[in-house]
Amino acid sequence: MEFFVIKLVLVLIVFLVSLGVAAYSTYAERKIAAFLQDRIGPDRAGPFGLLQPLADGLKMFMKEEIIPTHADKFLFILGPCIMMMTASMTGVIIPWGHGLEINGSFYPVQITDINIGILYVFGVVSIGVYGIMIGGWASNNKYSLMGAIRASSQMISYELAMGMAIIALIMTTGTLSVREIVEQQHGIHWNIFTQPLGVILFIVCAFAECNRTPFDLPECETELVGGYHTEYSSMKLGFYLFAEYINMFISAAIISSLYFGGYNFPFIDQLGLSPNMLSMLGTIIFFGKIFFFIFFFMWVRWTIPRFRYDQLMHLGWRIMIPLAIVNILGTGVYVLFKNGQLHF
């Protein structure tokens, strides 16, 4: 019983935190866009415009809900639901902190640590493609369909390279559990130092998976009106847009836990604090890393223009995947060499 209560509370906290972070990511996106373009950005709703996400959300709720006559009503509603659900499901396996010791029992700050954690993320993210595809298909609009086809082909293409980048990581860590991967990076033994090429591949693929610039072809306004969400209005559109920000938050969390040490930080043993304090400090630092990567996502968005579709496919299939294979081979040699099984 106690187990369920704790897990339920954790699920609620993670869900609410990801919603909150996503809401304020929309604000941060607009502010950062403004600052990078020498503007001020939203500053009218509340102090520094801090109530802007609330105003935006309220606006979305107040908008008229339109379902096109020729749209498949069931699928049309299902699309944003899948998108939102898969976006908020990936937060389950991320270790947000080491854990707290209360009255002699240990509570890890993680909803569940499944031994195939990374595969779970890939599985759930792949379902996310259905959210876009179903939404685009059900709209019965050529632009939506084009956007959806682009989105799904892009996400499938980049998932391959992403999976291969992860395979190289798993070869060095020897586990699929995200918690164990993070624990192995204790102090400054971060995976970025053993997998420099893997990091670049993974981050680029994460951009493509989140449909962020320079890979935001699915909603390429200049060509496709609005892409897969052309026909969507009101909160259903809000869900699509919001899911993108949750995905960004989760990708930032996954990048920082897989390659940048998660809740570990340098000189963790030299501080001489109690384990509970260290754990809390670790969580704060983990969130710092996440926010940095969210900032990085936005920073890149306001720097690089969009790829052309054939350039995107060329990059995915003819550069990323061969590079990922080279990375796997190199990692294999490195692992054998480290274990002393390779003799020259």
Binding site: Q37, D38, I40, D43, T303
Partner: protein, 179 residues
């Protein structure tokens, strides 16, 4: 004929390896954008802040009164004739007994309208006026949702009688004297 040295010949050359991996270009782009993060923003928060305008700026008109608070305008119609945009219309009326404190001369403008959507703010009305009744000021014409609201009558153009409602046009008068 080549006028400037700024034109560049387009060459469709093969990208070098460094260009093909994109990352150096991406990083230099990121460096440029991050520099802008620390630059001062160019925004002017309009209703609270306004841009500094030139001394003889030509903005919204004002119909002046004399020192005793009487309207200067005699509805002669010279401004309407001078107006290249045909934005000014008026109806004249005769001053009645007991209205001496309202109008300076025996004829006055009962209706005086400027269509602010037609007006090109050239200032010719001001030059044409023999009575120093109309001036352009450094005030801006505010935006609106309805076209008819842009036809400004005497209620919006005429300055008030009390000292704080008077509109200062000394800068415009000085500008004219300089000419």
């Amino acid at each position: 004929m080549q006028l400037t040295n700024r034109s560049k010949v387009v060459v469709n050359k093969e990208m070098t390896f460094a260009e093909k991996i994109y990352l150096p270009a991406v990083l230099s782009g990121l460096a440029i954008t991050i520099k802008h993060l620390f630059k001062k923003s160019a925004t002017i928060k309009y209703p609270e802040q306004t841009r500094p305008v030139s001394e003889n700026y030509r903005g919204m008109h004002v119909l002046k009164r004399d020192e005793q608070g009487r309207e200067n305008c005699t509805a002669c119609g010279l401004c309407a004739v001078a107006c290249p945009a045909e934005a000014i219309t008026m109806t004249s009326a005769e001053r009645k007994k007991g209205e001496d404190h309202l109008y300076r001369e025996e004829k006055y403008a009962e209706v005086y309208e400027i269509n602010m959507l037609r007006c090109i703010f050239c200032g010719l009305c001001e030059e044409a006026c023999p009575k120093e009744a109309i001036f352009l000021t450094d005030r801006l014409v505010p935006s609106d949702f309805v076209r008819t609201n842009f036809i400004y009558g005497k209620d919006k153009l005429l300055e008030g009688t009390s000292a704080e409602l008077r509109v200062d046009v000394s800068k415009r008068i000085n500008a004219h004297r300089k000419l």
